[in-house]
């Protein structure tokens, strides 16, 4: 990714990012000054104990949460300058997200769930693309099934198809196998990596699974709201 001067810009740039959330028990410092740069095309896993701020960091990168300090720049956009609708457009054009809980729209069937990002992006042939995406995750026989009629693994594959269908430059995956059994989880991850490779997108993957983390090119370890280590996988 290059700017007007031909200088290569990072896909993600976190500059002294802080996140403080208010709760009934008082305010909690979740992120305490994160500095991070992720280049386009990288695959990065984020690990760390529960409560270390992994999901919060991903929410910030996806524009789903707003930092209380520092700067978040993703795909050339300074997210702090965008309003809610600006953030929505930013995600539409740049980001695909896979959640641990799938977050499919329960009242829409599989192909409709997958078609939405394409439709929102104003691309042609939304349903053809959605069918193709579902086919690429092996669900061509489940097109008209509703989420409630699908198994957990199938739902996550729908979510995966939805994340990649609009060919985003950045894929965010928050413990995508957390709710799946080992075998199903493996096949979902295999799909995630192959689809990412196919589209050349940047991947940020949150996981508790060390082996899975090692499949990425880089592993970032978050500890109590700070980056404990940041290493390239050999």
């Amino acid at each position: 990714m290059k700017d007007d001067n031909g200088i290569r810009e990072p896909m993600v740039l976190l500059d002294g990012v802080e996140l403080k959330l208010d709760s009934e028990a008082g305010s909690v410092n979740i992120l305490k000054g994160i500095n991070l740069e992720i280049a386009a095309g990288e695959t990065v896993s984020v690990v760390g104990p529960s409560g270390s701020g992994k999901t919060s960091m991903m929410m910030l990168i996806g524009g789903l949460e707003r930092q209380t300090g520092g700067r978040v720049q993703v795909a050339g956009h300074d997210l702090s300058t965008l309003d809610e609708d600006g953030l929505a457009r930013f995600r539409r054009d740049n980001v695909g997200i896979v959640f641990q809980n799938f977050h499919l729209v329960p009242t829409m069937n599989a192909v409709e769930n997958v078609a939405i990002p394409v439709e929102l992006a104003g691309m042609d042939n939304a349903f053809d693309r959605a069918r193709a995406a579902l086919s690429s995750v092996g669900l061509e026989h489940r097109l008209s099934h509703y989420p409630g009629q699908l198994s957990g693994g199938e739902q996550q594959r729908v979510a995966l198809a939805r994340a990649i269908v609009a060919e985003p430059r950045l894929i965010l995956a928050d413990e995508p196998t957390g709710n799946l059994d080992g075998g199903t989880g493996d096949s979902v991850i295999e799909l995630l990596f192959s689809l990412r490779a196919e589209h050349g997108a940047t991947l940020i993957l949150i996981t508790h699974n060390p082996a899975l983390a090692e499949q990425c090119g880089r592993v970032i370890d978050l500890q109590d709201g700070l980056i404990g280590s940041d290493r390239v996988v050999a």
Binding site: A88, R91, N101, V105
Partner: protein, 839 residues
Amino acid sequence: MINAFRIARRELRGGLKGFRVFLACLALGVAAIAAVGSIASSVIAGLEEDGAILLGGDAALRMTHRDISPAERTWLEKSADVSRVVYLRSMARSDRTGKRSLVEMKMVDNAYPLFGALETSPAAPPTDLFAKRGGVWGAIADTALLKRLGIEIGGRVIIGDAVYEIRGTIDREPDRVSGARALQLGPRFMASAASVSDSKLVQPGSQVWYFYRIRLNDRDNLAAWKTDLDTSFPDAQWVVRDRGNASPVIKRFIDRTTLFMTLVGLTALLVGGVGVSNAVRDFLTGKMQTIATLKCIGASSGLIFGAYLIQVMAMALLGIAIGLLIGGLAPALLADLLRDALPLVARIGVYAQPLIVATAFGILTALAFSIWPIARACDLPAAGLFRDSIARFRGVPRWPFVVATVILLAALAVLAIETAFSRVVAIYFVAGSAVAMGLFAIAGILIARAAKLAGSVGGTGMRLALANLHRPGAPTGSVVMSLGLGLTVLVTVALIESNLGRQITKSLPERAPGYFFIDIQNDQVADFEKTVSEVAGFREMRRTPMLRGRVTRLNGETAKSENVAENGRWILRGDRGVTWARELPEGETIVAGDWWPVDYTGPQLVSLSANSAAALGLGIGDTITINILGRNVTGEIANLRDVRWGTLRMNFLFMFSPGVLENAPQTHLATVHADPEREAGIETAVAAAFPNVTTIRVRDVLETVNGFLGKLGLAIRMTAGIAIIAGTLVLAGAVAAGHRRRVYDSVVLKVLGATRRRIMGTLLLEYGLLGVITALIASVIGSFAAWAVVTKVMKFDFSFDPLAVVAAALIAIVVTLALGFYGTWRALGQKAAPLLRNE
């Protein structure tokens, strides 16, 4: 059963969450029915307990146009105190200001009142107020008369040839409801009956009524006295009324108002029933995991059904109790309003019967509308309950539950019909409600199917909107039902009001004459016509002889109310205007038979209005006997006329051929059209030359009728408001039920890149489509209902007012959209993260 109670008790510890709309719906409907019934009971109790005061006696005899004989009076005085009251309508004029006003005269004797007390300002005995002093009679009047004439107490008014001094104003006239006419066109004027002869108002054929009020020496012997009266005077022409039926007009008014308002309350309860059903379904949706768990550990469907029915009915009883509390206290809360609005003293209290009826309606509604969703939830297999919530409540439960629901709905219908004053109206209401609910249920299904068929028509927004209408679990059905029923009431009321308003403001003044003149004596006719036609601005005059009579026989048989159709009974109830004519009056048309020749001299023929002939079951060739001035006049029906009452012309039910009536003592009735700006000159000229002639300004009549219709409109609006509030509540409930899911869907869409505008656009389309389609259907049903009420109940011509319907429909669409938008916009402005984390 014990287990069911145990489970229910534990579950109820969760409190009222999710039951607010349920409670509100039941409480509102039950409160409306209980309040209407309680108020009616307190008014009727007042009517019954104060019967003698309202009637002016234990019994009252009414004679039209002629007095009773001395022998009859002697008979009456044998066993009772007797008070004679003469009612007339005339013109009063101030000798000082020259202003004039029509007055409703009540001329009393020294025995008046036999019961109750006449309250005046200043307070004084009636004998003092009415005594003749220095050649001038005393009188009292409504303050309205003093205002109209521009005089004070002590001022003088001239009526006919008599002069009266106003010695006080009337604060409360105990027997005001028992006058000669239901509709009073002028203020009350009271004076001594002895002054009537001085006024010279009573001439042969004059419009005058004589009332004889009786206070029996043995007041417990009323029935025997009446029998004795009937036996002693079998052919007497008086109408006898007793304290047990003091004011049939008021009683009928209360009965009809109660019926109307109860039906509106019932509409609120029916609409609420939809809310009950929705609330129960939503409540059970939240209990799916519990139900599944209970099933997994061995609870039977029956046990679960019992446990949840107990919970729902416990909540229903709470809602009903709230409704009963409000309804039961309504008479006390509205005591001041009732005192001012009614001519009698309502007996404020708690009445069991209306509360029992309201409770029965509440319980039946709660049961009828909750058994279905409870049965559905309990029928689902345990494994299925653990899956997602969609498609849970579709389909039909097992047949016993279907049968139970049908029986309960039928019981509701039977209760509505059996407790109604008019079964026919109640049956129409029940049938109409059933058809309307059926149509909206079908409409809900059709809208969902059409949305599915339309599929991916239009852009993303349209596709999402259409999809939201047919998704499993979409609230389309309940929104269409609640919005549809509420809007139907709104359209019906809007159209009825618009038709009532149009009757008065639009159609009448164009065609109506400026004045009615009554009591023109035979020997005054020529002078009267000359005087009026010479006044500047005079346009046209019509005149007809005027007599009054009572229908006594139909085809030779004694005319009895019970033998004629309900809509014809009023004809037999009292005196009706009668006339004779050589030629068919202008503007009327013959619909059956032939008008008699101008020079007809044969046997007595009679022409009837087509509607009244139908109501009385009479046709061409039948005979009708009318007692006019004590003489029975029988005529053969020669033709039927189409009479248009709305024209305010001289319309008569009965017109005789020339002959017998030609020579009977009679007065004349005239209508005069004049330039509106100069019509006052006609009134002045007539008053100066013919003091006995009574002038009725059509504009005054219209104002009186307008005032009445205004009050009627207000009552309609207020009661309809209850049904509309219920509809809005249910609609809000239906929309709120899907709200959490909708916000979640919206947040997911936002995560995927949809802007708020786009999401709201989809919502706008979805609710807009629902609103528009439902509004269309409700407009048709509401228009039909309004047509039925206006033409069949009120007997007016119906005119469709598209503006009223469009306005009502727009309101409905705006309300739907506002409710649909409520909360979603706010949720969309917030960060998505917390919602995604919490899921």
